[in-house]
């Protein structure tokens, strides 16, 4: 039996040697050509090329083939490519099975031609068995909301929100902290190389353009509490925490508050009270907020200012959006106590230096301006994990450049200062090389250490001493006395990034950052349709790269929602009413509430709401009668694949 008129074409890709160097593609073609239902089997150097796709299209268009197997690379790369090719030729794109004989075969079994070839044959046979029972399917079309939720009001979130608004898309921007601006605002007066413009200027300008646009709703001091729904139709619940302020206040309100905490806006180098004032000119919103965890409700501020309202309650807002962009940013790496002298007076992180420069307009150690400063690079970065508890293997990309920027800034403030850079490699890529070159020209000294011999920082009397073996001078141990030691620390995913990954079920890479589907094919897409990522939530990067990634995410979200509808894959559950006895076993298994009991003529049966079903299949094992099935992957198909894999049970 070959099933009702299924005519299968099998196309085996060489991937220009990636596959054919290990897998005997000719033998695969020869073997699977004998399978019942297969009308043609061919091999080709690049199936994904236009010529390769044309092979499939021609066979489908002529009617010779109505079901297709392509054996090539991972389905994540090209399943969609070939489904589209079949559609173009007038075929049904779901009469298709994509077999991975590269990542899951030739690359994993290099050097075992026989084994890899057998495996490729086995997998194509299973695909053929699948298609013998396949039926044409069509996409589920659903209206899409013309709006986007942007999570995170830092540089990436601001850029993406503004892009979308300007393209005519309704935007909801949610920021966790009481003010927009994120980490970029905290860079303050530091100029962004090579543009010679302070980061905060860029933040301010974006905020200025965004605020007041009718397409935009901004929630600060707010969190995304829950997200349900699917691409095109997400229901989002936002919790907005009270600011405890109805408006602005005259006078220096912060002075009346007796509570003290480290000021996060200056990376903890200064103190603040429980009253959080707009941290910079042009901040949004321009009214203060109370840090209620610190506040003991003493009421002094309420007496000083009529705008204070300690009776405010949190609010919950619900919105519907078509797409979501997660731009939840990074947090600076926090060195352990003792790591490169952390904890000794005069040892600070790069972020703390930035905070001090912005807050105090300079840096003082023991009340004196430092005469010498040592920047130690890669603290917490580029470390092998073993022994380096808490440290990171990856390079944080921006820190070399940020350190050079800060060093030049320091030299401007303190012209006589001696600056040493103790680094492994100076990664001032691209145009940033000019910054490295400038630092050298102005007299900064560069020392390079190897991973095996990291520098040590000690306190000797009232001085700090950095000991390091300099690979640039035959690895002699140098002893550099310093007033100030700056630990150049990298980026880690922010708490908000970790929280949103958990809440939205987004994947994170081994480095903890949000994971894109593919760095080149789907660089801002996540595994979940309609959810995109941008900025430093995805990877450490600098200002320009963050802006580009944000606009790229906005482009993807815009093209999704501007169309006004989405097409969903048809792989959802369905009930064979003739087998269902309404036992309700499947209903309790479904986490999405997609199954309900309905009347069908004289009796009751289970029924699936296709828009709510996510196609996970969790309901499948619950049914005692196998009445509930997954469209596009039925029990019968899986059973035939199992039977056919080893070459028996071919005529099931």
């Amino acid at each position: 039996m070959t099933g009702g008129g299924v005519r299968i074409g099998v196309y085996v890709c060489h991937c220009g040697g990636n596959i054919s160097d290990t897998v005997d593609v000719k033998r695969v073609v020869e073997e699977v050509g004998k399978e019942p239902g297969v009308v043609t089997a061919v091999d080709f150097p690049f199936m994904c090329s236009e010529a390769g796709q044309k092979l499939v299209e021609d066979d489908v268009r002529s009617g010779r083939v109505n079901a297709v197997v392509v054996a090539a690379c991972s389905p994540r790369l090209h399943e969609a490519t070939f489904r589209a090719a079949i559609s173009r030729a007038g075929g049904n794109p779901y009469m298709y099975y994509h077999v991975d004989i590269r990542e899951e075969c030739s690359w994993a079994h290099e050097g075992d031609r026989e084994g890899a070839t057998e495996k490729a044959i086995r997998h194509v046979r299973m695909a053929v068995a699948y298609l013998r029972r396949a039926e044409p399917l069509s996409k589920i079309k659903a209206a899409s909301e013309r709006s986007v939720l942007v999570i995170g009001g830092g540089l990436a979130g601001l850029r993406a929100a503004l892009d979308l608004a300007e393209a005519g898309v309704r935007v909801y921007l949610v920021e966790r902290s009481p003010f927009l601006g994120g980490n970029a605002a905290r860079l303050g007066a530091l100029k962004v190389f090579p543009y010679g413009r302070p980061a905060i200027d860029i933040v301010r300008s974006l905020i200025g353009k965004l605020v007041g646009r009718r397409e935009v709703t901004i929630f600060t001091n707010a969190e995304v509490e829950a997200v349900s729904g699917y691409i095109g139709n997400f229901d989002v619940r936002i919790k907005v925490w009270p600011r405890y302020f109805k408006g602005k206040c005259a006078g220096d309100l912060a002075r009346v508050c007796p509570k003290r905490a480290r000021d996060e806006f200056y990376f903890g180098v200064a103190e603040r009270t429980a009253i959080l004032l707009p941290p910079f000119e042009g901040a949004y919103p321009d009214i203060p907020a109370i840090d209620i965890n610190l506040c003991d409700r003493c009421g002094l501020c309420a007496k000083a200012c009529p705008s204070v309202d300690l009776s405010q309650e949190p609010q919950t807002v619900s919105v519907r959006v078509g797409a979501i962009i997660a731009a939840t940013g990074f947090r600076p790496y926090a060195p352990r106590n003792g790591e490169c002298g952390r904890g000794l007076p005069g040892v600070i992180t790069l972020h703390e230096l930035v905070g001090a420069l912005n807050k105090f307009g300079g840096i003082r150690v023991d009340g004196r301006a430092p005469e010498s400063a040592v920047f130690i690079y890669c603290v917490g970065s580029r470390q092998r994990r073993a022994g380096g508890e808490g440290a990171n293997e990856y390079c944080s990309r921006y820190c070399c450049i940020a350190a050079l920027d800060a060093a030049l800034h320091l030299r401007e403030l303190l012209p006589g200062v001696r600056i040493y850079h103790v680094a492994r490699d100076i990664r001032s890529y691209g145009v940033n090389e000019l910054l490295y070159e400038a630092a050298g020209r102005l007299g900064d000294v560069f020392v390079k250490y190897s991973e095996e011999a990291p520098p040590r920082v000690e306190r000797q009397g009232d001085k700090l001493v950095v000991r390091v073996r300099d690979v640039l001078t035959e690895s002699v141990e140098l002893e550099i006395p310093a007033d100030l030691v700056v630990l150049v620390t990298g980026m880690e995913p922010s708490d908000g990034t970790a929280a949103i990954a958990e809440r939205l079920k987004l994947q994170r890479g081994p480095d903890g950052f949000l994971q894109e589907v593919h760095p080149k094919l789907k660089p801002v897409e996540t595994a979940l349709g309609g959810i995109f990522i941008a900025g430093t939530a995805q990877a450490p990067r600098g200002v320009a790269e963050t802006l580009a990634s944000a606009s790229a995410a906005a482009a993807r979200a815009a093209s999704l929602v501007l169309r006004g509808y989405v097409e969903l894959e048809p792989f959802v559950a369905y009930v064979d009413a003739s087998k269902c006895n309404a036992c309700e076993a499947c209903i309790s298994e479904c986490p999405y509430g997609a199954i309900e009991i309905v009347r069908a003529g004289s009796r009751e049966v289970a029924s699936v709401n296709e828009a709510l079903c996510k196609g996970c299949g969790a309901c499948i094992p619950a049914c005692p009668n196998s009445a509930i099935q997954l469209r596009g992957l039925t029990s019968a198909q899986i059973e035939d694949m199992i039977r056919s894999a080893l070459g028996h049970g071919r005529s099931a």
Binding site: S74, P75, E103, M126, P510, C616, G617, P621, E639, A645
Partner: protein, 133 residues
């Protein structure tokens, strides 16, 4: 000559299948006597399929589960484990060693973990020898 054990692997489209693929990307080696079926989520696997695999000539079945990365279900691991245990019981009742069925979570970048597990499973199945039904 003894035949190498044949293993059926269930993977999930968004999590463990990319994980298995990542082993190939890293050029990590594991036995080619493996056959892979992709499902959306490991919780959908019916115990009968696992039993059928053993009946059809496979020496073992490995379920590469979503674990805590599951995009659909918080309790994916528990649900998948239920199906695996049910299959093990059916097999045991027919005199087939339940250790011929294994499950472990394989995350989307866990190629190394997958290779370690599958190599270990392959060796264990080699020691068990052929299925006696």
């Amino acid at each position: 000559m003894t035949r190498a054990p044949q293993i059926l692997v269930f993977t999930t489209s968004t999590i463990s299948d990319p994980g298995v693929a990542s082993a190939g990307l890293m050029r990590l080696k594991y036995p080619p006597q493996t056959a892979i079926i992709r499902v959306p989520c490991s919780s959908m696997i019916r115990p009968e399929w696992i039993v059928l695999a053993i009946e059809s000539g496979f020496d073992g079945v490995f379920v590469a589960a979503d674990g805590t990365d599951c995009p659909y279900l918080r309790d994916c691991t528990e649900r998948t484990a239920r199906g695996v245990e049910a299959a093990q019981k059916i097999l045991a009742s027919r005199g087939v060693e339940p250790e011929r069925v294994r499950m472990a979570a394989v995350c989307s970048v866990c190629g190394e973990a997958f290779v370690r597990i599958i190599n270990d499973f392959f060796n264990a199945l080699s020691r068990l020898g052929p299925v006696r039904l």
